[in-house]
């Protein structure tokens, strides 16, 4: 399997076939239909202080949802492109990470070490979880800091 991402200056060259791009294009829909099982996308900042948590929620409002929506729009807009910018690549990475959290919650993954027994043939969700990990790791490799 050839490397899916290579860095070229301020751009990332994407080598993915149509099927893989379709997988990426479907992620926003997967996330939109997610019930966020396990609360994996809505962590509390002050878990033992309801008053402080309410103040924080009031302060940040919908900004986290807005940022996530922006990331998903970026992915939708650019998932067919041959090259993407670094900020687009970061948005891809975050959406892929969100999707992995949701898939893991659906699969009931709650402890370290699950990868050792994971069988991609177990279910489409497990196969997708593994593949998205491969893509995310590839993006980490080319993005640097």
């Amino acid at each position: 399997m050839s490397t899916p991402f290579t860095r070229k200056g301020a751009e990332v060259r994407v080598r993915l076939d149509a099927d893989s791009r379709a997988v990426l294009a479907a992620l926003p829909e997967l996330l939109a239909g997610s019930d966020d099982a396990g609360g994996r996308l809505s962590y509390r900042v002050h878990p033992s202080d309801a008053e402080a948590e309410a103040r924080y929620r009031d302060l940040v409002g919908d900004s986290l949802d807005d940022l996530r929506r922006e990331d998903r729009s970026t992915l939708t807009r650019s998932c067919g492109d041959a090259t993407i910018g670094l900020e687009e690549a970061e948005a891809w990475m975050r959406v892929i990470g969100e999707a992995r959290l949701v898939l893991a919650a659906r699969l009931g993954i709650s402890h370290d070490g699950w990868e050792e027994e994971a069988d991609p043939g177990q279910s489409p969700e497990m196969a997708l979880l593994g593949y998205l990990g491969y893509l995310q790791d590839g993006l980490v490799g080319v993005l640097g800091v």
Partner: protein, 96 residues
């Protein structure tokens, strides 16, 4: 326009410490899903850690279940938490 600054302003010492001035710690908790390489990248990107420090913190999260990744006044700590949540990491705040 110029103004004459007073030599000194005496403020009453109330003995109070304002909430926003107290130091808070940003704690990242272990989760079994996020990739180690991604977590290291996030720590470097958000906090400017060296790869060695980011890797040390990631391994601390992995082995001990949690690690303090940044600290500061409440406003900064909450912003750091917000950014970590945007990147899909499980983060909470604690008093330093």
């Amino acid at each position: 326009m110029t103004t004459v600054a007073p030599d000194r302003i005496d403020l009453p010492d109330t003995g109070e410490t304002h909430e926003v001035d107290r130091a808070w710690q940003v704690v990242v908790w272990n989760d079994p899903v996020n990739l180690m390489s991604y977590v290291v990248w996030v720590f470097r990107k958000l906090f400017g850690h060296t790869v060695e420090e980011a890797t040390r913190l990631m391994l601390q999260v992995h082995h001990e279940g949690r690690a303090v990744v940044s600290s500061g006044p409440l406003e900064k700590a909450e912003l750091d938490c917000h950014r970590l949540h945007h990147h899909g990491l499980w983060a909470t705040l604690e008093r330093a």
